[in-house]
């Protein structure tokens, strides 16, 4: 009978549905079969058979009820799926029953899957090329590419104009440059704001309509056009309260006035992450000016002008490249004097981020899957051990006709359930982690990430995570199952009843030894790192960080009228800064103001060598934090002088090299030796700062809890840098600092003194410390998690080995007990042989730990270690041995309970 496709589909769907919820219950079916038999019996009786005969014959003709039920069940569901479903339910039950094991396995797998998924997602987000714009894949960047250094160089205005005029393969060509200036509104509020100077075509390429008014049009690009500004949604809401009548209002941006022409919709931060747009006037030669703040990444950041466009319809990227190459670039320098550049057309995201479209990140994304191997190997040992304890169950199933494949698939499914739960937990962890990565990135660059980077876990990542779960189940479930059932196949079914038939092979013992060794080798380093991280979070700073407000003080570099004299601009910065500080100090609510190159705790690191080799025992020198501060800094942070003298203006004279060091650094000097007069030579990066420095005094630590070695130099009155950290201390002790009002006041003073002086990211020190503490807690909880995982698995591994050893020696123990061996001797004998792998692991791991200490300590503990704690390694080794003894307790007790008669019977 040929069946129509709909009937086939209908049957398939109903079978699928029946797999999970049978349409007809077993009871109903049994009732129907019973009715069948009743009628058959009745008929046979009617034909003259005795009731007894009738019953027997009915069953002979109609067949077995059980078999009929089985075939009906097979017809009602998808057989493979239904056994999978059964196995999964069984798996869940086993997980609940052995919850301790489940928890350990799920947590370790979840950690590995979570790290893998987060890494995969972050890589794909950062290197993603999808633009959430209409026909986003048609938007490209046109670069001036230096093939020799494989780097992008700046695009000149001339090239931009030529490309705009001549490129046939582009539907339109636009350009933008990023500027950050104070945006000063009519109410006098001044806030640094990032704007894109963009040509009108840029808006059309993005293809997003304004929410109010209009965006920049070609007329705005003319030199004599009245300056207009288009507001981003954020700026419109925060600075104008979402006022619908904002069009036509005047704002000051830097030192120029603009009229508001339009407002863009929410989430529009094109071209990268911009809140404000002003016309790019093509005639202005701003493109050769490097900006103080990068646009994003390397490519867009170094130079101002980014040229982008939309490909004409039916034009491929390759054809656009060919045309651009044929047009060439305008000559900038005499041939041979500069790099030979060539135009290159690349997808938009690649052009902005400077990511090479290489395969490495993607391979890395998949390579993190290797993290799964250690926890899976551990779980495999545990699963193998559990298979052995469930031997009788499997023996029964094999005897009833289950195939080896069926048993393997049952064990695999059980582990798959476990791995799927772990993948769920791992994805939840990954989602948290990617959110943290996003906020950390945004914190670091001080603005939102590019508009196309969406850190929500993508379906692809979820797919990847469940793929990892599948791999994990194969490693941790299928491999032990295949190995264990393979042994049964070889030794035959009769061996299954005997608990000792399975042996823990060399591979499994090797894994446990390796695991113990790995624990011992890495634990000392982990313990030290954890201790440092936790300790720094424990005590608060010795002062009230709520009393401090910090901000970055930045002076605009005027791109449009480049000042050739750097010195003049530095002097102007110094003068305005001095004025700002004087005004602040005159404020009765301000107790002190100081400036420094970096915030305490965020200073750059330099590597210092001691000229007369005081630290002869040390290999090279030390990584030390270096800050340049004014004199008021130490008073402001309440750092008393402990020895020597303060720095004075005279120390700024050429040839004078006096520095201060903090207490943590001074404590590194050998006991009884004064660090005063010690000569320090910076090497490597930052070595151009001075030839040799001499310690003039010792100050107390800044109590941020980290006790990092720090050195201070005096900030010159006219520093080279146009970016400084401003530290304001408020007088009213105990009262919480009103960051908002004080930063508004700061900005008001700065804007009044000079609109190009920006107060960037004003924050209370308390909130900075709060963030740092959160980070510390996060780090330490990860470390503690790793430690717990390592310890848990070592313990489980040791326990597995010992249980096996005892089980294997049941008969021997029984015979010895029967011959009158005292229990102490028995335990000692079990102990000595069972602890051998543990001992070997501890020994190998100890050597590993010494290796790590010898070769890697400079890298691992460069900035955190005050002194080497030699007791940690023996403590860790003792700890592992104690764990071994604890793990032995159960098996040893079982061994002593072995009944000699029973044990002998087994043989």
């Amino acid at each position: 009978m040929k069946r129509d496709p709909f009937a086939v589909l209908r049957e398939a769907l109903m079978r699928l549905a029946g797999t999970f919820r049978p349409s007809r219950s077993d009871a109903d079916m049994q009732d129907e079969l019973a009715h069948h038999l009743e009628l058959a019996e009745k008929e046979l009786r009617r034909r003259g058979h005795s009731p007894e005969q009738a019953r027997r014959l009915a069953r002979v003709h109609a067949g077995s009820e059980t078999q009929a039920m089985e075939t009906v069940r097979q017809q009602s569901s998808v057989p493979t799926l239904s056994s999978f479903w059964l196995d999964a339910k069984l798996g869940l039950r086993m997980l609940r029953k052995h919850w301790g094991l489940t928890l350990a396995c799920v947590l370790s797998m979840a950690a590995a899957i979570g790290i893998g998924a987060a890494f995969f997602d972050v890589i794909h987000t950062l290197t993603g090329t999808q633009l959430p714009l209409k026909d986003g894949d048609r938007i490209v960047v046109i670069q001036s590419w230096d093939p020799a250094s494989r780097k992008e160089q700046y695009s000149s205005t001339e090239d931009f104009l030529r490309w705009r005029e001549q490129l046939q393969s582009m539907a339109s060509v636009a350009a933008f440059a990023t500027v950050e200036r104070n945006l000063i509104t009519e109410d006098g509020r001044s806030v640094p704001t990032i704007a894109a100077q963009m040509t009108a075509a840029g808006f059309r390429i993005a293809g997003v309509d304004p929410l109010l008014g209009r965006f920049v049009i070609e007329e705005d690009e003319r030199q004599d056009a009245a300056p207009v500004v288009v507001l981003g949604h954020n700026v419109w809401q925060s600075r104008f309260g979402g006022d619908a009548a904002v069009l036509g209002r005047r704002v000051q941006f830097g030192d120029e006035f603009y009229t508001v022409a339009g407002v863009m919709p929410e989430d529009f931060i094109f071209p990268v992450s911009h809140d404000l747009w002003v016309p790019l006037r093509a005639g202005v030669a701003l493109s050769r000016q490097a900006l103080a703040e990068p646009v994003w990444g390397e490519a867009g950041g170094e130079f101002a002008l980014t040229v982008f466009g939309r490909l004409a319809s039916d034009v491929s990227l390759e054809r656009a490249n060919v045309e651009a190459a044929a047009k060439g670039l305008t000559k900038r320098a005499p041939t041979g004097s500069g790099p030979e550049l060539e135009p290159r057309v690349v997808p938009y995201t690649i052009g902005i981020t400077g990511n090479t479209d290489g395969w490495l990140p993607h391979v890395l994304g998949y390579a993190v899957a290797l993290l799964l191997i250690p926890p899976c190997a551990n779980i495999a040992v545990l699963i193998y051990a559990r298979i052995v304890t469930r031997q009788q169950e499997f023996a029964a199933r094999l005897a009833l006709g289950a195939s080896r494949g069926r048993i393997v698939s049952q064990i695999f499914t059980e582990v798959l359930v476990l791995a799927a739960v772990a993948a769920g937990v791992g994805l939840a962890l990954a989602s948290e982690a990617t959110a943290l990565v996003q906020s950390a990135q945004e914190q670091q660059i001080g603005r939102a990430l590019p508009f196309w980077m969406d850190f929500h876990l993508s379906p692809r990542t979820m797919f990847y995570a469940f793929g990892l779960a599948l791999v994990a189940a194969l490693i941790a479930g299928a491999i032990p199952a295949i190995r264990a059932t393979g042994r049964w196949n070889r030794s035959g079914l009769h061996a299954l009843g005997n608990r000792t038939s399975l042996r823990l092979g060399k591979v499994w013992i090797g894994i446990v030894v390796l695991q113990v060794a790995l624990s011992v080798a890495t634990l000392p380093a982990i313990v030290e790192a954890a201790w440092w991280t936790i300790r720094s979070g424990l005590p608060g700073p010795g002062f009230d960080p709520g009393e401090y407000l910090t901000a970055r003080l930045v002076m605009d570099r005027d791109a449009e009228t480049p000042s050739s004299d750097k010195r003049t601009s530095a002097e102007r910065f110094a003068a305005i800064r001095g004025e700002l500080i004087r005004e602040l100090e005159a404020d009765p609510s301000v107790a002190g103001v100081s400036v420094s190159q970096a915030l305490p705790g965020a200073e750059p690191l330099v590597f210092l060598e001691h000229v007369d080799h005081t630290f002869a025992s040390e290999a090279a020198g030390k990584w030390v934090r270096l800050n340049q501060t004014d004199q008021a800094f130490f008073e402001s942070y309440q750092m008393p002088l402990l020895a020597g003298r303060w720095l004075e203006p005279a120390d700024l004279a050429p040839g004078n090299t006096a520095v201060l060091i903090n207490r943590s650094y001074a404590e590194q000097f050998p006991l009884g030796q004064t660090p005063l007069g010690e000569q320090l030579r910076p090497t490597g990066r930052g070595s151009d700062l001075a030839a040799v420095w001499e310690v003039a005094g010792v100050v107390d630590d800044v109590f941020d809890g980290r006790n990092q070695m720090t050195m201070y130099r005096l900030l010159p009155p006219v520093p080279d840098s146009q970016v400084l950290s401003l530290n304001v201390r408020v007088a009213a002790r105990g009262s919480p600092l009103e960051t908002a009002s004080l930063s508004a006041r700061l900005r008001e003073i700065a804007a009044r003194l000079d609109p190009s002086m920006r107060i960037v990211q004003p924050r209370s020190l308390a909130s900075i410390y709060e963030d740092r503490r959160e980070q510390d807690y996060l780090n330490s909880s990860v470390i503690v998690g790793v430690v717990l995982g390592v310890v848990l698995f070592s313990m489980a591994g040791i326990y597995t080995i010992l249980s096996f050893t005892v089980a294997q020696r049941r008969q021997e123990i029984g015979i010895r007990a029967a011959l009158g061996a005292p229990p102490v001797r028995l335990v000692a004998s079990i102990f000595s042989r069972a602890m051998l792998p543990v001992g070997v692991g501890v020994l190998v791991g100890g050597l590993g730990a010494l290796g790590i200490e010898y070769f890697l300590s400079d890298v691992l503990f460069a900035t955190i270690r005050q002194d080497y704690r030699p007791w940690i390694l023996p403590a860790v080794e003792a700890f592992m041995l104690v764990l071994g003894v604890i793990a032995l307790a159960g098996p040893a007790r079982r061994a002593l309970q072995v009944d000699p008669v029973e044990a002998l019977k087994e043989s």
């Binding site: 009978m1 040929k2 129509d4 709909f6 009937a7 209908r10 009715h35 077995s64 078999q67 075939t71």
Partner: protein, 115 residues
């Protein structure tokens, strides 16, 4: 199972389905035992369906939408499940009969030629 075995099962399964449909179409709604008895009767005892073949067949036809099963009361006043042919079942039966007739004609022609 070998290919040949597969093919044979398909033919038998298809024929069984057709016979069940024909029975239910002729007699009206019937329970499983009645269908089996009828087939046994008309085949002169040649077809004796056991429950392991009959009921999966009924369920298969029900899943394909050719039969509809409903609870009812049998002659012996007992709760029983009755199978009724659906419109799709009737169409399927007609198509099946046509195929069968054609096949019989072809085979008969072939054998006639040979003899």
């Amino acid at each position: 199972m070998s290919n040949e075995g597969n093919r044979r099962a398909e033919v038998l399964q298809g024929t069984l389905d057709l016979m069940i449909l024909q029975t239910v179409n002729t007699l009206g709604p019937q329970h499983g035992y009645a269908i089996a008895s009828r087939l046994e009767q008309v085949s002169g005892g040649a077809i004796q369906l056991n429950m392991g073949s009959l009921y999966p067949g009924l369920i298969r036809l029900e899943q394909g939408g050719y039969l509809k099963a409903e609870w009812g009361v049998s002659d012996s006043n007992r709760k029983a499940r009755f199978y009724r042919i659906t419109r799709a079942g009737k169409r399927q039966l007609a198509a099946g009969k046509k195929d069968w007739d054609r096949m019989v004609a072809i085979v008969a022609g072939l054998f006639g030629e040979a003899s």
